[in-house]
Symmetry: C2
Subunit: 245 residues, 2 copies
DNA sequence: CACGAGTTGAGAGCACTGCTCTCGGATTGG
DNA sequence: CCAATCCGAGAGCAGTGCTCTCAACTCGTG
């Protein structure tokens, strides 16, 4: 963290932190797309060109914000899960995590827009962002896996035998969830694991949609109490997953 | 449509159309936030200031695009529903509409970003956009209402009597769905209507999340076949709504 | 302590953006 | 035909990301 604690290195750390903090503040007020490097330069009372000593480009700054935010959100989810005393109460863990995820997003709308909103025009998130990005969904999958290991099962699934066609295959890139030791404790067959993964992803999709609607103003006036609405949706999702509240 | 078919009025119509078309094209290539009025001016081979004769500001242009896009999407949904011959087959109508909505969004990613993505920084959508914005969810609610009128019912709901607390109230602004004649044919009690409305909104939330994940690149590598995935999710949602496929 | 090497901040400059203003020319309705 | 209106062009302002140069500062080493 501090390889050579020289005055210069220390100043660099401090200023880098200041830039990041200012950028995140402006993220919330101005939005990710309008993040202006000159504006953060004014915030930290430097000339714009000086900021480039710390971040080689606006995109590099965005990437740093992206990783930091993903990690913060993932940690919030993990902490909420860990805070539930009764580890066997999958319903309580599920609700706690979903509440924590929404709470973080509501508290950090700018960061949420950066993470999950419209991609910033000429910017493509580099590989480094993938690992922190999947922390949240991993937490969700872990809860489901624990519940299934304890004997819980999803309700009658419209899966292979249910209505409609064969379920879609989960691509290899989701192996970190599908192949995870999460499911090793369960006595689920491989296709049952795949089914659980799909349900978890679908639940995560719903949660994301919910938060997105709330933060992007698509449910103003349609949902009176967002917190209560989240609770209700969380319970429904848990019921679908068979990890009753 | 053409009150005074003078040469000037005709030219104005044509150029307005050209500007809108160019703007929508740039929407997909550059993104909504980076929509440059000067760029569309170059496209239509005018000087930037001339464009202001047609749209008083960039925001006004955005609003026009917003309304036009909402209407197009809403019409696509309505058309897909209307195209299903067997009006009593709620499952088929549901699947058709969800497919059509996704198809339109995939075909118009720029417009999707404008409609449902991160709000453009200093821009607030005016009232005019509300009516076209709700066309899609109205189509969904109509299908559910028709099915319930025909006797279908949602599966055991974790509602008032189910697990968890009391369901959240739907705010008055959603009256256009809740108070709609959609439900007058059903013999549902008021709270059952509210329950159906909530389920419809939740399904719409999931659909939006799904499309958003796909278009914003949050499921690259995690879902192999987006179309098949949509079908599967649509069937699960229909099953939850009790309008089985 | 001194000095060369590396780091940092400031400033000017380029090309771009949204937007406002003015000015000459074209079109319109009376 | 003519006054009123509309329209396109151009200049200009303040903002943006980014590059370059230059002077000042800090650092490890001799």
């Amino acid at each position: 963290m501090s390889p050579a604690r020289t005055a210069r290195a220390l100043a660099r750390e401090t200023i880098t932190r200041e830039i990041l903090d200012s950028a995140r503040a402006r993220l919330t007020t101005d939005g990710a797309a309008a993040l202006s490097l000159r504006a953060v330069a004014r915030d930290v009372e430097m000339v714009s060109s000086a900021v480039y000593r710390y971040f080689p480009s606006r995109d590099a700054l965005l990437t740093a914000l992206l990783i930091e935010s993903y990690d913060e959100l993932g940690e919030a989810a993990e902490a909420a899960d860990a805070a539930v005393a009764d580890r066997a109460d999958a319903g309580a863990r599920w609700l706690a995590v979903l509440r924590a995820v929404r709470a973080w997003c509501v508290a950090h709308p700018g960061e949420f827009g950066l993470l999950y909103g419209t991609p910033v025009p000429g910017y493509a998130a580099p590989r480094d962002t993938v690992v922190p990005a999947v922390r949240v969904v991993t937490v969700l999958a872990r809860i489901v896996g624990d519940a299934y290991a304890a004997g819980a099962r999803p309700v009658a699934a419209p899966g292979p035998g249910g209505p409609g066609g064969a379920p879609v295959t989960v691509a290899p890139a989701l192996a970190f969830i599908a192949d995870h030791e999460l499911w090793s404790g369960t006595d689920l067959a491989d296709d049952a694991v795949a089914e659980a993964v799909r349900r978890t992803i679908m639940a995560w999709t719903t949660l994301f949609g919910l938060i997105s609607f709330e933060l992007f103003g698509h449910q103003v006036g349609s949902v009176a109490d967002p917190e209560a609405w989240l609770d209700e949706v969380a319970r429904r999702l848990a019921a679908d997953l068979g990890i009753g509240a």
